[in-house]
Symmetry: T
Subunit: 160 residues, 12 copies
Amino acid sequence: MTPVRSTLPDDARRVACEALQDTLVDLIGLSLIGKQAHWNIVGPRFRSIHLQLDEVVSASRTFADTVAERSAALGVPPDGRPETISKAFTLPAPKEGWVRDSDAVRVMADSLQDAVGRLRERIAATEKADPVTQDLLIGITAELEKQRWMFDAENVPGEG
Amino acid sequence: MTPVRSTLPDDARRVACEALQDTLVDLIGLSLIGKQAHWNIVGPRFRSIHLQLDEVVSASRTFADTVAERSAALGVPPDGRPETISKAFTLPAPKEGWVRDSDAVRVMADSLQDAVGRLRERIAATEKADPVTQDLLIGITAELEKQRWMFDAENVPGEG
Amino acid sequence: MTPVRSTLPDDARRVACEALQDTLVDLIGLSLIGKQAHWNIVGPRFRSIHLQLDEVVSASRTFADTVAERSAALGVPPDGRPETISKAFTLPAPKEGWVRDSDAVRVMADSLQDAVGRLRERIAATEKADPVTQDLLIGITAELEKQRWMFDAENVPGEG
Amino acid sequence: MTPVRSTLPDDARRVACEALQDTLVDLIGLSLIGKQAHWNIVGPRFRSIHLQLDEVVSASRTFADTVAERSAALGVPPDGRPETISKAFTLPAPKEGWVRDSDAVRVMADSLQDAVGRLRERIAATEKADPVTQDLLIGITAELEKQRWMFDAENVPGEG
Amino acid sequence: MTPVRSTLPDDARRVACEALQDTLVDLIGLSLIGKQAHWNIVGPRFRSIHLQLDEVVSASRTFADTVAERSAALGVPPDGRPETISKAFTLPAPKEGWVRDSDAVRVMADSLQDAVGRLRERIAATEKADPVTQDLLIGITAELEKQRWMFDAENVPGEG
Amino acid sequence: MTPVRSTLPDDARRVACEALQDTLVDLIGLSLIGKQAHWNIVGPRFRSIHLQLDEVVSASRTFADTVAERSAALGVPPDGRPETISKAFTLPAPKEGWVRDSDAVRVMADSLQDAVGRLRERIAATEKADPVTQDLLIGITAELEKQRWMFDAENVPGEG
Amino acid sequence: MTPVRSTLPDDARRVACEALQDTLVDLIGLSLIGKQAHWNIVGPRFRSIHLQLDEVVSASRTFADTVAERSAALGVPPDGRPETISKAFTLPAPKEGWVRDSDAVRVMADSLQDAVGRLRERIAATEKADPVTQDLLIGITAELEKQRWMFDAENVPGEG
Amino acid sequence: MTPVRSTLPDDARRVACEALQDTLVDLIGLSLIGKQAHWNIVGPRFRSIHLQLDEVVSASRTFADTVAERSAALGVPPDGRPETISKAFTLPAPKEGWVRDSDAVRVMADSLQDAVGRLRERIAATEKADPVTQDLLIGITAELEKQRWMFDAENVPGEG
Amino acid sequence: MTPVRSTLPDDARRVACEALQDTLVDLIGLSLIGKQAHWNIVGPRFRSIHLQLDEVVSASRTFADTVAERSAALGVPPDGRPETISKAFTLPAPKEGWVRDSDAVRVMADSLQDAVGRLRERIAATEKADPVTQDLLIGITAELEKQRWMFDAENVPGEG
Amino acid sequence: MTPVRSTLPDDARRVACEALQDTLVDLIGLSLIGKQAHWNIVGPRFRSIHLQLDEVVSASRTFADTVAERSAALGVPPDGRPETISKAFTLPAPKEGWVRDSDAVRVMADSLQDAVGRLRERIAATEKADPVTQDLLIGITAELEKQRWMFDAENVPGEG
Amino acid sequence: MTPVRSTLPDDARRVACEALQDTLVDLIGLSLIGKQAHWNIVGPRFRSIHLQLDEVVSASRTFADTVAERSAALGVPPDGRPETISKAFTLPAPKEGWVRDSDAVRVMADSLQDAVGRLRERIAATEKADPVTQDLLIGITAELEKQRWMFDAENVPGEG
Amino acid sequence: MTPVRSTLPDDARRVACEALQDTLVDLIGLSLIGKQAHWNIVGPRFRSIHLQLDEVVSASRTFADTVAERSAALGVPPDGRPETISKAFTLPAPKEGWVRDSDAVRVMADSLQDAVGRLRERIAATEKADPVTQDLLIGITAELEKQRWMFDAENVPGEG
């Protein structure tokens, strides 16, 4: 059953939809580990980071929806099932149990830094294949880089 | 590190937090498979079920947050990481790839039916251990039973 | 045709759905007589009671919807047709024609008092059968008791 | 007790208020049977019709309030009590129990068609008696004819 | 200078615009005496009537704007200057100084009753001249009759 | 296929639906030329008229929808396709290319003036055929006459 | 009947309430002549000034309400009846009939200028008598001076 | 520890902060007794006064927050602890138990009257010390005088 | 005077209303000490805790209102007067004067922990007496336990 | 008259503005045929597709406005007059009269598919000429491809 | 060209407008350095201070607008051009480059402290010249003192 | 201190961040001169241009924030201090003092035209260095070109 027509040649579609599927995995993964840290964080910066983590979750969920629907729109069914995410998600993530606030900041900064690095490769890969997909990945990168900056800035040790 | 005090005796806490952790897995799982079906559904009822599935996702996400924060509030860190969900989630779920609308309805009805069955056991189990947790599970059950009814009703074949 | 599956054993479902059907009749009835009084009230307290009656109507309509959908969710079709309400509704109600403000206050206080009394019996009856239904009836009772208090308080004669 | 003055001669008032009382019965009846169908509908079009029925209920309730208050404003107390509706309401209505989606569409189309037919007679009857009442009935007819069209359009069988 | 073209023959325009100018005077007058009563009312029903009077003011202001702009749209400049209102406004009105709540209710009921009587004459007068203007006057009458009913209902003496 | 039942006799329906179809053409046409002027206007009054034109467009679109749905509700399919509008639309309209602000004001005032003239004929034509349709046309006329007044008023040359 | 107690000595109350009554007259007058100009303005700046005039009306109405309620709060009933405004209002105002846009700007600038001059005298007069009333008059002056500036700025002739 | 710098000389700060602390006590007290009356009021005016009392509570809470934060901003920690309020609050207050509506009106009018009297002394006292604090107290007085007027007006006995 | 009827037997009402009165004291007390800490907190975490404390205040005020109105609805007048709170409130509270941020966190965590302990006893006590009251107390406990968790989590010392 | 300066060289401007004008025609055409189908659709999926079509209309109107204003911003007046659209619009469209739901889905899917194909050519054509225009076309393509996917998915036949 | 009339004598106007111009410089400067710190802040309190700084920016921008428009309203054109601010702004400000969170807190506390000191001189200077301007400066001072307090409180070192 | 990691190679980062810093200067400068003109404009088009200028200010402020945060996200601290803007801002700007409306239109059109020209160079420069930054600059250009068009269109002289 191939119910949804493509508007791209086969090769271009393959490149674009691989980039989209890989991005989908990273974004769903980020939304899950962002919530994990949101729930388990402890330390004097609890409230501030607890709220900041929910902004990562919210952005990741919105982008995941856009990315998956774009893949469907190109005629390739996206895959966001639990076992798929579990197998394919490889970004840094918090450990089980309580997470100290400074550890949460560090792990989120690293996870976002890696996610951005992977997105930049996909931006290059999709430039010829599909500028519409590329434009979407550019927008996601802009937001994740902004989130990454904020965790990096937060990661600078205090005075004294 | 046991940073968060309990307001329950140890046994009661164990019972309540196991119920909460199991419910967390079901709810995160439901939010992931609900989105999976939302993206991959095809057929003449596409738009109607596409929108209905997002209501399952939205309810599941909100309840997952409440359930996880309640576990933390009782002093037990919840676990919602991708690998945990993948291992522990056992409710019926859509297959990979495009999903026919009638299949989506059937699988969601079955998945919600099973989720409710498991919740009813936890309602019984937590009655003595923690009426506050029980009350939360009762509220979730009411909503999931309502969602289940709507998929069941939708599952009745048309005239002729 | 039994299109909607139950999540309760047959006995429990019968108890729960009888409680829900009886509550549905009381609530639809309250919404109709509340409007009747809202339209026909006269006297120096017209505006104040006219507005208060609409809050009874609004709460009754919202609860009626929840109660009926819960019965459907348990697999039993609710019945809110005009002839059903007319036959089964037995709470005190305003007479035909204009209603003096003090009479409207008295009749609504009495009607809500009786409705609460009947709800309390159903709360007891559903405790074992279905804690989810019981929790819903508890919530309705809380609101109707609050409304009843306000009519009772309003019913105290003025100074001198 | 005749607390509210009329702004119409007695004959005109009688004509206008009979038209209003009859319309009130039809509208309250429509709101009750619309909800009945909203709760009991089953079939592949469940969600779509379930939502559409609530728009009939919402419009009927709003118009019923306007119609009843206009009667009061003309000095004649309206009657919307359960027994009055039960006796006077004669439009087609769904049977007890589950309602197949196609049956719900048919019965609502017929009920609205009949309601519009009766309203058009009242529009003619009130033209001389009270143009203000007539204008209100015209507005109700416009909305109910629109609702009727949508159920009629929905009632056309699908392809094949 | 006759800057705005008419879409009516001269006779019809004269009839319509006289009806509009007279209505403008009544509505601005009602908005001023409504506020006068709103500020000066005293008695146990202060708050209830104080709020109700602001609804008369609000409706009167909105209708006055519509009526004046309709006259301009027909090519006749409306006149709402203080001296014009003072000379032409003849509806019952509160006296200078504090106003007892029951007096406020009576005078507003009478003023609205008279306003409606005059509007009904203008509805008849404009039927042939301009159905658009007539329709506007019908809408104003519906609202003022509703307001009049509420003051009449409020004017019925309390029990005992 | 005649899927939607009429609530009017055949003759009345023909009269009403011709009036509606002609009005639909005028309204869609007005929405297109209003946007054309909105985009191409130049001159010192650019911003003020640019915004005013969008109010014409917005009103025209809303009325066009109501008019077309009313025709469907009477059982006659409306026709708003590009070729239909192009053939049937005859109101004054801006030329291709930039439009000076004073020219935009003049052409819109003339176009609205003509539209109102045609609507007044249809109001007369539908009085017996269908008072519900007539009432709708009266409401549209009121708004377009108001818009026309504002362009006429704006068209008066400045001082000096 | 002196139902409302004063919180000021008699002399202070007299000074404060005279200032308030005079301000009430100016503000109601401004709201009436602002509307008069809003309806009757013609010329190329129609839309811009038409909207600006409604901001004068809106501010005047809000301040009039505050000023009148402050007088009541000090125990002196305010007087805003049509005949009072007509007699006491002396600020510059538009003539009967259509008003050219440049004339509307000039007359509103002059009227606001005079209103501010009178308010500044009352600010001085109430300084000792009642700083609460003075503070209210200061706030009104700030807003009316701002409105005056905008009409003055608008009154500067255009280039060449 | 004197963590917050002053922007006032020591004497001025002492005067301003004593006025603020005394006002804080009155406002928190008013919010507590306003709620006490809101909950315990009975009588035919129940609903109207019940709602009015909540406006006193809402205003008192908002002002209390502003007053306390102003004291902190001047470098003096405010004190709003239960024992402080209990000791220092001396305004008239309702007795324990049910409160008749007319008694609630009387006691609130008296309590607000006394509160205003005390505020006027503080307005005088802070004029030289800190015009910013004085301006805040003037604003509170304006609102409490308005609330007092409404209870006074409500306190006038009804007709006959 | 016993104006409000009970819907409970006397013994049950006594148990329920004692639980409600004790809870009312705790909640009003929490709202007062929450504000006290909100105003007086100092330290590097000022803004974060300052905002968090207002959430405790807001929740406490809302629950206090519900609890007091429930007692009234059961026929027992609640008591929230300053002297009552001062005498009966025994939860840990901040000292007079500036409060270091870490002290504010500790005292709020302890105060909420104790409040939850006392609520759990009342949940047990009201189970038989009044399930409606019990359900309300369960809801309050859920929220206060959540607030307590967040202060506990915040109380964990930072890294190094 | 060339009132608006370009920020592009002449060749680039010509390329960009041709792409914009062609896109404008497609978008206005889509908004007209989307409404045509919205009004004339019949069949069991009436409500679902009726609503979906309005989303196409809404998106098309918003994009048409942006596209036309971008052309003006580049100094070339856009052309959206009825005769221009009628001549230049060539996408698949519904026939006159009632449209079966499955036909509406097919024709919209085809029309959007063709529109996307044409947009992709313009994206390529404007890459060098004007990246700002290209970026706008990319955004439109993303949305229309998403809409196309949904109609394609909806076009898959139901089970059995 | 002196287009805007004064409502003050020349001397008073000079005093008031100098105070306004100096305040304008301080406020625009604060808005610029607030943003500078908002962008460049690093350290564990990043998020909390980052958000707090935007409240300074938002308040400064709003007040700057009010202050500049008041100067214009008094007939003196305000000057907020880049070179003016650069020359006249002398409050403490963050250095170029990244700013440690504790440094950002200190410099903002100092800058606001100085700004308040200068405002208090202008409050004194404008008392006789123009109480309306003085009242505006009092309002600005209240807000900046509040902001200053919060940075001061935040500046207290943490525990141990 | 280099607290924020880059996700770009050093050369690319230098190119991107120079483009961002130059754009930041232009945008802050535009927001300051837009306000300067907003405050000082005089002439018959005062209100229209006064409002339009605030849209330039609002867009400039929002873009400045985005641009500065993007630079920070790339690891380079942005510089928006008063002295930096004053030195580096070179776009056309209004003179000191009152500004005639036609001059304000001309200078804003020229300033935006120059800003766009500079942005187009930066779009070219960043294409290879950082497509994410380029995309942001493209979005800013689209908006500023739109604003420029409107001032250009407004700059066309009126008729006669």
